[in-house]
Symmetry: C2
Subunit: 446 residues, 2 copies
C-alpha cells in the first residue's frame, strides 16, 4: 500500500482518469463529466468508457475497462448500482488504485444497497485500491483544473479546502468559493481523517472547512483533527440537530448523525471551530483569510448612519468588544471637519461632517487616524460601496483588522463595485462582521 498522502494525490491530482459510464449526451442538462473536464482545461489524460459509444466530443471511447491502458491513476464510476462491483473488480485488475463511485443506491438506500456496498469495499481492499463514495461527486481541485463532477463551478484558486458529505458543495450550491473540495458521500472507505492528512501539509491550502453529517472511526478522527488544527484553522459545520434531521441524514449518506452535544464537546477537544450555518462558514473563511489578528478588544466604528452604529454596538457587546477611547491626537487630526457642538466620538458619525467637507475626504481622514491610534485594535467601517476602494487602499498593510459592513441594496451595480474594489473583508451585517472578528480573536494560531 502507498502512503495516505500519495494515495490522496491520486484522487486530487491525477495524471490520468478513466470515466466509466460517461453519458453519450452532451450539452445543457446532460450532466456530462467529460464535457466539464474539457471545459475546465484539465491537462491529464482522459479515458471515457461506454459500451454504447465510439466517440464523445471528439474523444475515443473505450468499450470496457479491460481495454484501458495500464497506469491509470483514477477511475470515476457512474454505472448502475448493480454493475458497480464488476467494474470495481475490473479496475482493481487494471491496477487502478483510486476509485470515485458516483453511483447511488448503496448503504443510503436499502438492504440490497448495503450488501452491494460491502462487496465493493471487500473487492477494493483485496486489490489494494481506495474508494471515495459511493453516492459522491468526488473531487474538485481548482489548482489542477480537475473535477470529477459534471457541473463546472465558477470557483477560484483560493487557499481554502472543503471536505463534505454532500455533492451540493461541489456543485457550487453555496454562496462562497473554495479552491479544493472533496465530497466523501457514503464514506465507505476514504474519510475525514484521510482528507485531513492530505491537506495537513498541502502548501496550496491555508484553511480547511468541513461539512460533517457523521464521523467514522472517531478515535482516529480526534487524533488527526487535533494535530492538523494546530497547523491550519479547521472550520466545522454539523447540521442535523433534531430527530427528523438525523433520520434524513441516514437516508442521505447512510451515516449515523449522533447527538449535537457530543459533537460540540469533541470539536472543542480537538480545536475545531464550530460554525452554525453555511452563511457563517463563508464569513469565517473570509475572516481567516483577510482579517489580521486583533491585538485587543478595543473596537472603533466609522459610520454615515447613527442607527447603523447602534446596531453595530449590539453586535460588539455580544462578542466581548469594547468601544475604543480615541486618543487626543486622533481627535485633533479630524476635529476640523466636525461642528463644534458635535466633536468626533467613537462611533464616528461622519454624515454631517461629510456633507459639509466632502464625504470621501472625511471618511478617509477618519480611517487613517483610527489605524494610527494605538488604543484602537480593530475598525468596523459602515460604508456604501463607493467608499470600498478608499478603505482598501488605507487599510491594507496596516496590520489591523478593518471590516466593512456594506450598506445598501445588493443589486447588480453594487456587486460590480464590490468586484472592482476587490476588498475582501466585507460583511452583510454588523453582527456577522463582529462575530467573524471574535472568531479570529479566539482561534489564532499565532
Amino acid at each position: 500500500m502507498i502512503n495516505i498522502i500519495e494515495q490522496m494525490k491520486l484522487f486530487l491530482e491525477p495524471k490520468s482518469v478513466a470515466l466509466i459510464g460517461v453519458p453519450r449526451r452532451t450539452g445543457r442538462g446532460s450532466f456530462n463529466v467529460l464535457e466539464s473536464l474539457l471545459s475546465l482545461g484539465f491537462s491529464g489524460e482522459v479515458y471515457p468508457v461506454n459500451p454504447h459509444a465510439r466517440e464523445i466530443l471528439g474523444k475515443r471511447v473505450y468499450q470496457d475497462v479491460k481495454e484501458l491502458p495500464k497506469g491509470v491513476d483514477l477511475a470515476i464510476i457512474m454505472v448502475y448500482r448493480s454493475a458497480v462491483p464488476g467494474v470495481v473488480k475490473d479496475c482493481v485488475e487494471k491496477g487502478i488504485k483510486a476509485l470515485i463511485i458516483v453511483s447511488g443506491g448503496f448503504a443510503e438506500a436499502d438492504a440490497y444497497g448495503k450488501e452491494l456496498q460491502a462487496d465493493v469495499v471487500r473487492i477494493a481492499k483485496e486489490g489494494g485500491a481506495r474508494i471515495i463514495g459511493p453516492n459522491s461527486l468526488g473531487i474538485f481541485n481548482n489548482f489542477r483544473n480537475f473535477s470529477s463532477t459534471f457541473l463546472p463551478p465558477r470557483w477560484e484558486k483560493i487557499p481554502v479546502a472543503l471536505i463534505s458529505q454532500s455533492g451540493g458543495f461541489l456543485e457550487g450550491f453555496w454562496n462562497f468559493t473554495v479552491g479544493k473540495a472533496i465530497d466523501l458521500g457514503n464514506m465507505c472507505d476514504v474519510d475525514f481523517s484521510d482528507a485531513l492528512e492530505y491537506l495537513e501539509n498541502d502548501p496550496e491550502i491555508k484553511v480547511i472547512a468541513m461539512h460533517i453529517e457523521g464521523i467514522r472511526d472517531g478515535r482516529r478522527f480526534l487524533k488527526v483533527a487535533e494535530r492538523v488544527s494546530r497547523k491550519k484553522p479547521i472550520l466545522a459545520i454539523k447540521p442535523g440537530r433534531g430527530e427528523v434531521a438525523r433520520q434524513t441524514v441516514a437516508s442521505h449518506t447512510g451515516s449515523l448523525s449522533g447527538e449535537g452535544w457530543i459533537y460540540e464537546a469533541a470539536f472543542k477537544k480537538c480545536g475545531l471551530i464550530r460554525v452554525e450555518n453555511v452563511d457563517e462558514l463563508g464569513d469565517f473563511v473570509q475572516a481567516i483569510l483577510y482579517l489580521p489578528f486583533p491585538k485587543g478588544n478595543k473596537l472603533a466604528i466609522i459610520t454615515p448612519t447613527g442607527a447603523g452604529a447602534v446596531m453595530a454596538l449590539d453586535g460588539g457587546e455580544n462578542y466581548g468588544f469594547q468601544l475604543a477611547q480615541l486618543s487626543a491626537k486622533t481627535i485633533n487630526k479630524i476635529k476640523e471637519f466636525f461642528p463644534p457642538w458635535s466633536p468626533p466620538l467613537n462611533p464616528i458619525d461622519m454624515m454631517s461632517a461629510g456633507i459639509a467637507h466632502g464625504y470621501g475626504k472625511v471618511y478617509r481622514a477618519s480611517l487613517e487616524a483610527l489605524l494610527e491610534d494605538e488604543g484602537v485594535d480593530a475598525v468596523l467601517c459602515i460604508a456604501g460601496s463607493p467608499t470600498l476602494k478608499s478603505i482598501k487602499s488605507i487599510a491594507e498593510g496596516k496590520g489591523k483588522p478593518v471590516m466593512v459592513w456594506l450598506l445598501g441594496k445588493h443589486d447588480e451595480e453594487m456587486l460590480a463595485r464590490i468586484k472592482e474594489a476587490n476588498y475582501s473583508a466585507v460583511f452583510s451585517s454588523p453582527e456577522r462582521a463582529i462575530k467573524a472578528l471574535a472568531m479570529v480573536r479566539d482561534n489564532s494560531l499565532e
Copy 2:
C-alpha cells in the same frame, strides 16, 4: 388645528414645498434636495430659498421665507442650527403648517442645542405648526415621487411603510425597499403614534415597519399601536440592547432607549411583531407580502441536495413545523422518475431523478404534486436561480406558501435571473425562510 391625518398629508403628500437653505452646489457629493426632487419627477410646486443664489438648476430662488407665496404646504429647513428658530418663526407667519427640520445640533448635541430645540417647539406650537425632526431627513413617498432627502433612492411603489429615527433608512442604506418612509429624527413633536395614525387607513400601505430607538408618550403609543396592529401587521426593530449602545442612542437622536425587556413586553401587549435585525426585517416584509397563511404545520421540501434538506430540517424543527407525510396519490404522480430503491420521500431529494429524466421536469412535477396534496401546508423549494420561473408559474394562485431558498453564489448573473423570474418569496438560507413562514403563521390577521 387640523386633524392628524390631514396634518400628516401635508408632510407626505404636499402640493407645494419650500426648500429653505438649499445648497447652491449640484451634482455628485452636493447632497442637493432640489436636484433630487427634480430627478424624482415630483409634480408639486417647489420653492428654493437661499439668500446667496438667484437661480439653481433653472429654478427661481427666493432670498427669504418672507418672499414666499401664501399657501405653501411644507417647509424643509436645512439652515445652521442657530438660524432655525428664526426660520421657523417666519414659516409660521407665512401660514406653513408642516416643517421638516433637517439641521442637526439640537437635543442630540449639547445644552445649547437642547435650548434651541425647546424654542423651536414653542414657536411652532404657538403658530399651530407641526415639526418632523430636528436632525431628520424627513420623508420619502414613492407614490408621490416625493422626498425631502437629498439622495434619490432606487425604491419601488410597494405597499410597505417604514417609520424610523434614522436618516440611514431614507438614504436607502438597507438591503430592502419600501414605498413610504418617515424619519422622525429627534422626534421633538411628530412621533410614532402620529405616523401610525396616518398609515392606519392609508390604502397604499399594507405593512408597517418601525425602527425604534426610543418612544415618547408611551401611553398613547400603546393605545394607537394596539389599534393599528389589528388592521395591518406592524414589524418593529429595537436596537440598542447593551449599555454602550444606549448611550450612543442618546447622542444620536437624544432619545432614552430603555431596557430591552420593557420593550419586549410592551410590543407583545400591543400586537407588534418583534424583529431581530435589518436582514430579518427585509425577510419578514417579504413574507407578509408574498406568503399566504399556512393552514397548518406540515412542511414539504424539494431539494437537489440532501445536505441542504438536512439544514432546512434544523430550521423547521426550531420553529414548530413537521415534515408532511406525502399522500399515496402524490407519490404515485412522481414515483416513475425515481429509482425503485429510492422512492420519493419528504424531503424529495430529486437530483438523481433529475439527471435521469430532466431536472426541470422532475422539479415541476414534484412541486405540482405537493401543492395538490392536502397533507402539505407549505413548501420549501431548495433551488438554483434557473428553476425560479417554473416555481413562480406553478406556485402562484395556489393559496399555499412556497418559499425558495436560492442556492449558489449571488453574483450578477444570478441577480439578473432573479429579477427576470420576478418571484418574491426568495430567501438566502433555509433558517431565514422558515423563520419568516413561522412569523406569518403566528401573526395572521385573517
